[in-house]
């Protein structure tokens, strides 16, 4: 009660200030962007990145001036910026980052195969036999590492860090491209915008081949703007601006060499619903969906569920998933929170907390398909 009261009081004070400043300066309200201070080609403090340019374009469309709160785009970003109230919109949010509310995508790009154009390779896909004899640079823990591992190329990989390390103990992300140009690695599977920037803006002699998703491994991503969950008003204004500025956005992206991948023609897989009311219990959008159950079956083994719950869900060191006994409850929301490690006193290790929502629902769709208990007890 006391906290609610204090929060209300603080909002009132801040609201008052905003009105005062607005009145005094007679300037339009700024578009407050959460920017990365040092992450070219995306963004930097000198506003040289393509997201800075798109930010200026969108702000102008909305009749606002862009203002920046700087925070590196990595762990802690949302907590320290949008959630802390220092800014309102993050540009360049990939699908899957569930801690913010997405706008519709304003472009789609992918991981790419990149190699020097004087090497004489003719590599059109990750299945090219030529790859077997090459040293390949990839960013550690990115989907291409997995795609290449699946093809038995683990021995060929040199791993690079995708993250800016404030302690300076690791190389910057562009090191991979520098090594590629220098011949330290023969080919690479980097994130497309980094490779495109190197080729287009720095005139590196690179061939760039965009990739499409593989079964179970996403390689292409929709990129959206992200706002605070619940800020539907700003989301709507930004989406209107995206619609109006589509062509100019594309021009900026092309200028920076960002490889653009067309959106899927097929009907998109249903996305994880973003609950309008954050308090409402979650429900699995994939229950009974054969394609999602098949995805879930693969994940069930891949992330280790079968080791404890049994290859067919019959249990082992952990409980059976096929009968009527559910320790904490059987509804979707409870099982979602169990997988995410959010149930107090749960014995299942809280190691899947970073698993995105989509695979969690795919897993649950598969688990539901195993049920052989009393049909009258189904509450999902």
């Amino acid at each position: 009660m006391a906290l609610t009261h204090m929060r209300r009081t603080l909002s009132a004070i801040f609201a008052g200030c905003a009105v005062l400043i607005g009145t005094a300066s007679a300037q339009p309200a700024p578009l407050r962007i959460c920017g990365d201070p040092d992450n070219l080609p995306f963004s930097n403090e000198k506003l040289e990145g393509f997201e800075n340019k798109i930010g200026a374009l969108i702000a102008a469309d909305l009749g606002a001036a862009p203002s920046y709160a700087w925070w590196p785009h990595q762990r802690g970003l949302v907590r320290n910026t949008i959630d802390a109230g220092t800014c309102d919109v993050i540009f360049g949010v990939p699908e899957g980052l569930d801690v913010v509310l997405w706008t519709k995508p304003y472009y789609r790009t992918s991981y790419v195969i990149a190699y020097r154009n004087d090497r004489g390779y003719r590599i059109a896909s990750l299945d090219a036999p030529e790859l077997k004899g090459l040293r390949l640079g990839v960013y550690a823990n990115t989907p291409p590492e997995e795609s290449l591992a699946r093809r038995g190329l683990l021995n060929n990989l040199s791993l690079y860090s995708l993250y800016f390390d404030p302690l300076g103990t690791q190389d910057r992300p562009l090191k991979l491209l520098a090594d590629l140009v220098a011949g330290v690695v023969d080919a690479a599977v980097p994130w497309g915008p980094l490779a495109g920037y190197y080729a287009k803006k720095l005139n590196a002699p690179l061939v760039i081949v965009p990739l499409e998703d593989e079964p179970g491994v996403p390689l292409a991503f929709d990129i959206s703007m992200g706002v605070k969950k619940g800020n539907n008003e700003l989301k709507a204004r930004l989406e209107a601006a995206i619609d109006r500025r589509q062509a100019e956005i594309r021009t900026i992206l092309e200028e920076y060499g960002v490889p653009l991948v067309p959106a899927h023609d097929a009907a998109p897989a249903p996305r994880t619903p973003q609950a309008a009311d954050p308090g409402a219990p979650r429900a699995n959008p994939f229950t009974g969906n054969a394609a999602m159950i098949a995805e879930g079956r693969g994940l069930y083994v891949k992330v280790g569920c079968q080791a404890c719950h049994g290859g067919g869900g019959g249990g082992g060191m952990a409980v059976s998933l096929i009968d009527t006994a559910w320790k904490f409850g059987s509804d979707d929301d409870t099982l979602y929170r169990l997988i995410k490690g959010q149930i107090a006193g749960q014995t299942m290790p809280a190691v899947y907390s970073t698993l995105p929502d989509e695979p969690v629902w795919q897993l649950l769709a598969f688990i539901r398909s195993l049920y052989i208990g009393d049909p009258t007890k189904i509450n999902w």
């Binding site: 038995g152 891949k302 049994g310 290859g311 249990g315 082992g316 060191m317």
Partner: protein, 595 residues
Amino acid sequence: MKRNICALVAAALWLPWAVTANQDLMSRQTDDNQWALPGKNYSATRYSTLSQITSNNARNLRQVWSFSTGALRGHEGQPLVVDTTMYVHSAFPNHVYALDLTKEGWPMKWRYTPVQDERAVAVACCDLVHRGVNYVQGKILMSTLDGHVLALDAETGKELWNVRNADPTRGETMTMSGLVIKDKYIVGVSGGEFGIRGWVAAYDINSGKQLWKAYSMGPDADIMLAPDFNQANPHYGQKGLGTSTWPGERWRNGGGSTWGWYAYDPDLDLVYYSTGNPGTWNPTVREGDNKWSMSIFARDPDTGMAKWAYQMTPWDAWDYDGINEHVLIDVTMAGRPVKALVHFDRNGFAYLLDRTNGTLLSAEKFVPTTNWAERIDLKTGRPVEVPSKRTRQGVETKDICPAAMGAKNQQPVSYSPRTRLIYAGTNNLCMNYEGVEVQYIAGAPYVGANVRIFAGPGGHQGEFIAWDPAAGKKVWGITEPFPVWTGTVVTAGDVVFYGTMDGWFKAVNAKTGAPLWKQKLASGSIGNPITFMGPDKKQYIAIYSGIGGWFGLPVAGNLSREDPLGALGAVGAAYGSGLDKATSVGGTLHVFALP
């Protein structure tokens, strides 16, 4: 004998702790009134010179005492008897009881239950077992499921020190007993199904300080190779292989857990143990020998440096977890005396090595259905594989024998110097095995295979056998409907004891294999029988019952029958043979004697 003990006592007054600790156990290991070391003695023969119970009178054995451990999951390992106190342990939560054998009913002197991180329960691979405690110089030393090693005052049960050896949030747990050598408590780690990188470590018995830690794989400095490592057998491999035999940096999650039974040769001053399966079970993603998973190690217990290592199953594709015990015996081969080490591996071969330098002298199939390899090439030390039985990702390779549970699991064998035979509980289990893609997530299972397990040819799932180690031949065997998952003990009365999953405890003539006696226990047994002399000068035999372990987990966990892949394949195997109808859960220590 008396003069020797006087000399020891006199020496103890002068020499530093390091030596007295050793002398305490050196004298107790040869005193057959006691059972003071997990394997009876440092050679781990599980042989006792006690001879009140003989093949002539064993039929008169009676249960004279029993004791509930207060825990329900599988009870592996054995109690200790030190002077006139018995130390009993249990499955998780790892209770310890000290019982006074001088008083009627053997009342409790104390009981102790460690405070544990419950998160360990979810990352134990195959039931919540424990394999027993150690005694040295008035202390009880033990491990806990959540990865601690600790010391108790043997008189009061008061905790003396308690340190962390393993981290359950990374899938590391402990179920082993370890071994005390000189002033060091030497332990390993479980977690081969969680992508750990296995190790052994030595802790100071007085302070709990870690003195050394040697990994199973990784850079040579981590594995701690002595400069003359494998000098006698360079073809086994020497430098650099802990990383170069793995793709990329897969060795970082290379498995090679170390939770088996350890042995020690005081003359050579070498401790022996082996490493388990490489991670993941899917071989396709880790092409290479995967050294030094699946290997027998000999190390200097003071420095931790490895003198030799021999890998049994290079590039494992079957989960033939190599942790099984070693028995140190002296044999005569081709007229020549050999200081031997005998190891019954899960892969179905009984290995006999020269324990001074690791030279392989023989390797024979102790379960004849073994079909993944033709034989072991004694020159190279490598298996001659049957290509159609090598598993890979995305293909269900069928009818491989033995199964992942092994031709023998962890239950230790015994050796009688009177009959010169090894007594072993074995499995007749085969499997279908499919490697599947798996992603490493710290603290999550990293198994990557679906395994179906079933009885091998003949339909029985187990056999208790007597084996001539010098000749490399089975002498006799008794088939059993279930895998024989208890250890064995053999005595100078020429009686050998073993138990069964369906709860029978049996005495057999050690020379002929003739059944002498049997008694039904409260639950199926996967424990190790021991024998000792009570203060009343009577010879006793003791064994735990309490079904569980990997094979028994479907019953211990009351799992449904519908999923044969449940419990990593144990559901299909255990329910296929009706184990759920044969026994139920509960830990009890049973003690037997003549009337």
